[in-house]
């Protein structure tokens, strides 16, 4: 049997339950992919602010777009589009989810 590659392009392998095994940072999530937050690193700046808009462990999010000339990313969290910097997003650990329902 050939190894199934994870379809979320994170480069990770699938586990038995179909979830992507690899945990990556939110900054690495490609546009159009969905993910679930695993944790926000304790060293992250403005953790509380992120938490207040729903960026807490367990929340689902969708990467909507990257801004031109880098820097900003746009994620959909709790039905709202939020723009944040990839530096901050790098401190948010996520688990990409399978595409397509």
């Amino acid at each position: 049997m050939t190894e199934k590659k994870c379809s979320c392009c994170c480069g990770g392998k699938k586990t038995e339950n179909g979830k992507c095994a690899k945990e990556v940072s939110l900054a690495e999530l490609p546009v159009g992919a969905t993910a679930r937050i695993v944790k926000v690193m304790p060293k992250a700046r403005g953790r509380k602010k992120l938490a207040d808009v729903g960026l807490v462990a367990g929340t689902e999010l969708l990467m909507e777009a990257h801004a031109p000339f880098g820097g900003l990313i746009r994620v959909r969290v709790l039905e709202t589009s939020m723009a944040l910097h990839s530096e901050e997003a790098a401190n948010i650990v996520i688990q990409p989810e399978e595409k397509g329902e």
């Binding site: 926000v40 304790p42 700046r45 403005g46 953790r47 509380k48 602010k49 992120l50 938490a51 207040d52 808009v53 729903g54 807490v56 462990a57 367990g58 929340t59 909507e64 777009a65 990257h66 801004a67 031109p68 000339f69 880098g70 820097g71 900003l72 746009r74 709790l78 039905e79 709202t80 589009s81 939020m82 723009a83 944040l84 910097h85 901050e88």
Partner: protein
């Protein structure tokens, strides 16, 4: 029963709060600033069942933490006594997000009414609410509204009325953070109750216990609660050890969990979720390749609308003030109080009229900005521009005000309100005067052709503008490393769905800004016009070095005897007459306060290549930069001058070197544009100290830079 009540209006950003505010209060609004910060405060008034209601529009926030100046303001306003009721506007189309703030507001135990706003969007999404259950959950009555169509405002007023009648018997929310955390909260609450703090009697200890437990900076700073800090730390350690709960975010975590549960019980989803039109628009608007060109096009259209469409209106206003001046002149005979007469006609009507001319610009500009903001495009623009602006140490939202700065610094500074970060806003305001405004253009247009050959003229103009921008960007860097040092706030910006702005809110927005501008014109500009007028006319010189009047009447006599058909002779005589009259004016100006200050200041200005004439003109330029040109015109006795005056250019070329010419432009570029700018900086930064520091800083900057350029130029023999 009181006859006057204070209601605080709270809600997330973009929840339609402003629509509700406008619907309730109409035009009875007062806009100001909270002390010490640049956060805008808005109050409105309305009547309800015979009671006078003051509605306080709190800034839009996601939470009651204090992670931004807005949140701190909301925290302070709500914990101060004197709020009778909270009207919480909730975007009911995204309940899980917008009720997050509600959970915290409910903990204040201030009577609350919930407006489930955007009910139409929620319906379209297929959301059904079990209102009765939700009311019980939050302990507050709920009214469904569509703020921007003023739907549901009547029921809302009725509910507010009932709530005000029953302030003593309001409901209690059923909010629980789970046994482990509730134990910690209760332990701290008991300690707080034991402190018996009178000034926070109106707020339950539980609220502060929760805030302290999540290490809220505003709550931690309250001296009154210092005795319980040890207990708080103990509880945090306990939670971490025993339940592996992390201190700063578990509250947010639990609140969202709590809401998920509550929403499951009370909100049902029917029908399918449509892909919103908004997302489709964004596919184009924030597209990686199209986003920037579209942004520049939209900005271009905004400026076109501001400057080209407003132009005819400006003409009317100019004519009106011209007419007004003439009328006053006609009615008021020159014999009665001649000083006051000319002060009113030339000083006041001329000065204030000169500023009011820009009112159409201001109104059109803020109408356009209101469209961009209320439609939701402004945050897209910030999203698209952020990458570029960040390279310069600013953020996306700074772009529009900075570009406006090339037009006029005053509206540009007013437009910085779109910048959310306090630090970036202050920095943007501080460097804005360096963006060469259009009032400096006449100076360049006068100086450049006087000293530079045609083929270098365009380059010189470009050099001047680039120097301004470069100095501004260096200024940003320096300020961010000194005055506004430290890491900025974490950047988090919502991109709300596109919405069609309503005309009413656009007009109200425009009126807000227009009124601010009018107030300024009526106070500071009126005062400066009078002062500068006095400086430029008094004391009046009676004895002249030559008898100009005699010379003038001699020429006039000759003029009358010359037949009109002899055009060349008539023109020559008229010119001679003008020269004589201007020579008289020049002597008069030298004798006035301005002229004397110019002479006094000459030693100071000498090292940068200025003589007393240039110094005098610089003082006059404080009223408006273009006055520099007309002042020079008088001093060089060229009469009515504008930047096209060739004789004035010849005079300048005769009297000054090319290096001096360049230094004039440099100094005008870098020093404070005008007193109106200074006044608006003071207003928007909400600090006289910072405004004065800005003026002094710009003067020093202009002086030192010009000094270096002039002395170096002299040393190396460039342009002398």
């Amino acid at each position: 029963m009181k006859s006057r009540y204070r209601i605080a209006l709270a809600g997330n950003p973009n929840c339609g709060k402003t629509c509700i505010f406008n619907a309730l209060t109409g035009a009875r609004q007062h806009v100001g600033n909270y002390p010490g910060v640049t956060v805008e405060s808005k109050h409105g008034f309305f009547e309800l069942n015979g009671y006078e209601i003051e509605l306080i529009d709190l800034p839009g926030v996601y939470s009651l933490s204090s992670s931004s100046p807005e949140e701190e303001v909301v925290f302070q306003e709500l914990t101060k006594p004197g709020i009778d009721l909270i009207l919480n506007v909730v975007d009911s189309s995204i309940p899980r997000r917008s009720l997050y703030l509600t959970t915290q507001l409910a903990e204040l135990h201030i009577p609350m009414v919930l407006a489930f706003n955007m009910a139409d969007d929620a319906r379209k999404k297929g959301l059904k609410f079990d209102i009765a259950k939700l009311e019980k959950y939050f302990g507050s009555p709920i009214v469904q509204t569509v703020g921007c169509k003023a739907d549901g405002i009547k029921p809302l007023l009725k509910t507010l009325g009932t709530a005000l009648e029953n302030l003593e018997t309001h409901g209690v929310p059923m909010l629980s953070y789970g046994a482990d955390i509730d134990d910690a909260i209760n332990a701290i609450s008991e300690k707080i109750d034991a402190l018996d703090l009178t000034q926070y009697k109106h707020i339950p200890a539980r609220f502060f216990a929760i805030k302290l437990l999540e290490h809220d900076t505003a709550a931690m700073q309250l001296k009154e609660f210092e005795p319980v800090h040890s207990e708080v730390e103990e509880q945090i350690c306990h939670l971490l050890d025993k339940h592996a709960i992390e201190a700063d975010t578990f509250m947010a975590d639990r609140r969202y969990a709590m809401l998920s549960g509550a929403c499951r019980d009370t909100i049902t989803m029917t029908g399918e979720r449509r892909r919103e039109i908004s997302d489709k628009i964004d596919m184009v608007m924030t597209n990686k390749y199209l986003g920037l060109p579209l942004f520049f096009l939209i900005i271009y259209l905004t400026f076109y609308f501001t400057f080209i469409c407003a132009d005819p209106l400006m003409g009317y206003i100019e004519e009106f003030f011209g007419w007004l001046g003439e009328c006053v002149c006609r009615v008021w005979s020159p014999e009665t109080l001649p000083y006051l007469r000319s002060m009113v006609t030339d000083g006041i009507i001329g000065g204030v009229g000169g500023v009011l001319v820009f009112l159409p610009n201001i109104l059109f500009l803020f109408f356009a900005i209101a469209i961009l903001e209320e439609s939701g495009y402004m945050s897209r623009a910030a999203f698209v521009m952020d990458g570029i602006m960040r390279k310069f140490g600013l953020q996306g939202r700074s772009f529009v005000p900075l570009v406006l700065g090339f037009g006029c610094t005053v509206p540009a500074i007013m437009a910085t309100r779109v910048i959310e970060s306090e630090r970036d806003r202050k920095v943007t305001i501080m460097v804005l005067p360096l963006f060469s405004c259009s009032a400096r253009l006449p100076i360049y247009a006068l100086i450049i052709p006087a000293f530079f050959p045609l083929k270098y003229q365009a380059t010189m103009m470009w050099v001047i503008y680039v120097i301004g921008v470069a100095v501004a960007l260096i200024g940003v860097r320096i300020m961010k490393n000194t005055l506004f040092k430290g890491e900025g706030e974490v950047y988090l910006m919502e991109l709300p769905p596109y919405r069609m702005p309503t005309l009413k809110s656009l007009l109200l927005h425009m009126w807000d800004r227009g009124r601010m501008y009018l107030q300024k014109a009526g106070t500071i500009i009126l005062a400066t016009s009078i002062i500068l007028y006095i400086c430029n006319t008094l004391p009046e010189k009676q004895v002249f070095s030559q008898d100009y009047d005699k010379m003038a009447s001699a020429i006039s006599a000759k003029l009358e005897s010359t037949p009109e058909s002899n055009k060349a002779a008539v023109e020559k005589l008229e010119e001679e007459l003008a020269v004589v009259e201007n020579a008289k004016q020049a002597e008069m100006l030298e004798y006035t306060i301005s002229g004397r200050i110019g002479h006094l200041a000459e030693p100071l200005f000498r090292p940068i290549g200025f003589d007393w004439k240039l110094a005098t003109a610089s003082i006059g330029a404080l009223a408006a930069k273009e006055v520099f040109v007309s002042q020079l015109g008088i001093l060089f006795a060229e009469g009515e001058t504008d930047e096209e005056s060739v004789p004035l250019r010849e005079q300048l070329a005769k009297n000054y070197t090319r290096l001096q010419g360049f230094c004039i432009m440099l100094f005008c570029l870098l020093s404070i544009p005008c007193l109106a700018t200074l006044a608006i900086i003071r207003r928007e930064l909400n600090s006289t100290k910072l405004a004065l520091a800005e003026a002094a800083g710009l003067f020093v900057l202009a002086y030192v830079t010009t000094l270096i350029v002039y002395q170096l130029g002299m040393l190396l023999g460039i342009g002398v």
